[in-house]
């Protein structure tokens, strides 16, 4: 038992070391420019070891921003009134994510953009999105009675990836231009998924 415990601690130390190195290099060079090899070297481990902990670089990036995304979800939940329309609900969650990620904008935009792509079909849990941080989006859609087709999920992913890219480069004060882009995009998306005859419902379904 004692040796397992030490091993778990060591594993945690290695994982934390990789995350620290990755964070430093992502902040310095951006997400795409910092290679897994550089991260491994900086963390003092073999490149293969990095992949033992994080199967892809995207997973590494997401792990770095996960804590902030969890806080975003908490903020979103605590501020819901209950009478939001679908587009406002989606806006509120995603903007909450972007606000929490503001200090990591240098690389978080790229992480979000790359990680936004959905699975080809809903997974065994019925989610259209494979990433945990997009679960609140799924829950919001469900709350409004909206069921996404695979095509709808891709449309959302494309919009969100575009918004994340725009946000990463947005020079306007408090990224207000991104606020507008996100708002317009979610209005567009909400209109699209509640289109006539789709059976989907919209506002005030709480």
């Amino acid at each position: 038992m004692n040796s397992v415990k030490i091993s778990a601690q060591q594993k945690e130390r290695v994982r934390a070391g990789i995350l620290r190195s990755a964070e430093r290099l992502f902040r310095k060079h951006g997400f795409a420019a910092a290679s897994t090899r550089q991260i491994a070297t900086a963390a003092g481990v073999a490149t293969g070891t990095v992949f033992n902990y994080f199967p892809t670089k995207d997973d590494l990036g997401l792990a770095l921003i996960q804590e902030r995304l969890s806080r975003a979800n908490q903020d979103f939940r605590s501020q819901r009134r209950g009478d939001e329309s679908l587009d406002e609900d989606l806006f509120a969650y995603l903007w909450s994510c972007l606000k929490q990620l503001r200090p990591e904008r240098r690389f978080a935009g790229e992480v979000l953009q790359r990680a936004a792509l959905p699975g080809a079909a809903p997974d065994q849990n019925g989610s259209s999105f494979r990433l945990p941080y997009l679960m609140p989006v799924q829950e919001t859609l469900t709350r409004h009675g909206v069921v996404l087709s695979a095509l709808d999920s891709h449309l959302f992913a494309a919009l969100w990836a575009g918004i994340a890219t725009f946000w990463a480069r947005d020079k306007s004060k408090d990224q207000e231009d991104t606020m507008i882009v996100l708002d317009r995009s979610m209005r567009l998306f909400a209109r699209y998924v509640v289109k006539e005859g789709s059976g989907n419902e919209t506002d005030g379904n709480n």
Partner: protein, 469 residues
């Protein structure tokens, strides 16, 4: 292209399309006389404010002038610029409302206008959507440093009115006062600045053969004015000045601004109980009630002008509250402009010239359009300004109340101003643009109110004697 330019273009280039021109004329009449909607926020948000309309007209003037002049290679070069200018004008999000109705009509007649104009007008079924509360919350956090639920005792999540560049919510302060909270659209100031910078870049090369300095002056004036409008602190100052000006007059109410809750993009002021013009008119007021409110509206304009040197660029129904206790509430000063000393002196000289008439008036006109009393302006243009002056002075020269409800009178003014705008004079004092818009919009409002007002008496009562010597 400005509506009047489209009409002129149709009449001269495609006379067989005259019926379309008539339809357009009716449309322009609507645009000129119907108020910007302020009540039904969900239906339409009037982001088209007066200075923005002025920006549109200004840009279109240059475009149309370029269309009329030049040949061969120069013409083709200009056409490229014109296409870009039209696309830009159309893309100025805040102007799209004005163009949208025009676009709907013109879209039915694709052969009637140049392709680049039609294309620019085509993509205009745009109305800025109202901000939902999550956006309003972000703006308030950014500006006031806290959530509305924490800053205010209560805050209505739904807007009750649209305002210049934003929307208005009701709220209650922790100290108990009922307030109106005006929240600006996100980054609208930056958008306007960028639009104007682009407009300047595109229009400047078109000024070959015209007066570059005049173009620059007018663009500067427009830029300064629009940036003032995006600054609610400036509006708070104006409200403060106006409140002082009307504080001893029981016929008026000007809301107090709560500076500690206000910023450049959020304005918190007293909520004034009452209705806007539309609701007032549907209550079927008596002629005496209409005349009284018409008199108060005119009096407020005259007082602001003569005593505070302030002119509204657009005497908009949304600026006024018809209060249940009979007072007139003055609530919106975002579109006002204060005269500089030099402009005031110019204005005083024009007042004097108008009163004297004849050669004194013609010299004043020459100065206003050429910068010098001996400058050369076309007889046609001078005649048009004389007509305009006669039209403006008619209510002043009428003994007793003048019937502003006379639609023929108002139409005559629209005709004269339309004629002037098609003559392509661009060099004039920037303040003239404000004068004309203010004169026209005030008369349009009094026309809608269908009231009789003794304008001569009001001017005599409010203007200082030195104005006329």
């Amino acid at each position: 292209m400005k509506p009047t330019e489209i009409i002129e273009w149709l009449n001269t280039e495609l006379p067989e399309q005259a019926s379309y021109a008539r339809e357009l004329e009716a449309l322009i009449w609507d645009l000129a006389t119907k108020p910007v909607p302020t009540g039904r926020l969900m239906r339409s948000v009037p982001v088209v404010t007066a200075p923005m309309k002025a920006a549109l007209v200004f840009g279109a003037n240059w475009v149309s002038a370029a269309l009329r002049s030049g040949t061969g290679k120069e013409e083709r070069l200009k056409q490229g610029r014109i296409g870009a200018a039209m696309a830009l004008l159309a893309a100025m999000a805040h102007l799209r409302g004005l163009f949208s109705k025009l676009g709907q009509v013109l879209a039915n007649y694709p052969d009637v206008v140049p392709a680049e104009v039609a294309e620019a007008l085509w993509n205009l079924n745009f109305q800025a959507p109202p901000l939902h509360f999550s956006l309003v919350r972000e703006m308030l956090r950014n500006e006031l440093g806290g959530d509305p639920e924490n800053v205010f005792a209560s805050f209505d999540t739904r807007a009750f009115a649209a305002a210049s560049l934003g929307q208005v919510h009701r709220a209650r302060l922790r100290s108990g006062e009922d307030v109106a909270v005006k929240v600006q659209y996100p980054n609208i100031g930056g958008t306007i600045r960028q639009d104007l910078a682009n407009l300047r870049a595109v229009l400047s090369p078109l000024s070959l053969g015209t007066d570059r300095a005049s173009l620059r002056d007018q663009l500067d004036d427009l830029t300064e004015t629009l940036s003032m409008e995006t600054d609610y602190e400036n509006e708070a100052n104006e409200l403060g000045r106006a409140r002082k000006l009307f504080e001893d007059d029981r016929d008026f109410a000007v809301p107090h601004v709560y500076r500690e809750y206000s910023s450049k993009r959020v304005l918190v002021m007293d909520y004034l109980e009452g209705v806007h013009l539309d609701r007032f008119l549907t209550s079927e007021p008596t002629q005496a009630e209409r005349d009284r409110y018409g008199t108060l509206i005119l009096r407020s304009c005259m007082r602001l002008f003569y005593r505070a040197r302030v002119v509204y660029s657009d005497v908009n129904p949304g600026n006024y509250i018809f209060m249940p206790d009979g007072r007139l509430g003055l609530i919106d000063f975002g579109c006002s402009r204060i005269f500089s000393d030099a402009e005031w002196e110019y204005s005083r000289q024009m007042h004097r010239a108008v009163r004297l008439g004849g050669e004194a008036l013609r010299a004043g006109i020459r100065r206003s359009v050429t910068g010098s009393t001996t400058g050369i302006a076309s007889d046609e243009y001078i005649a048009a300004i004389e007509d305009l002056n006669e039209w403006l002075q008619k209510p002043v020269r009428t003994a007793g109340p003048f019937d502003f409800g006379d639609t023929e009178y108002f139409k005559r003014g629209v005709e004269i101003i339309t004629r002037m705008q098609t003559m392509g004079h661009f060099r004039y004092e920037p303040i003239n643009l404000w004068y004309i818009r203010s004169f026209l919009s005030l008369r349009a409002l009094l026309n809608r109110l269908d009231c009789k007002v003794d304008m001569h008496h009001e001017i005599e009562a409010e203007s200082p004697p030195e104005m006329w010597v």
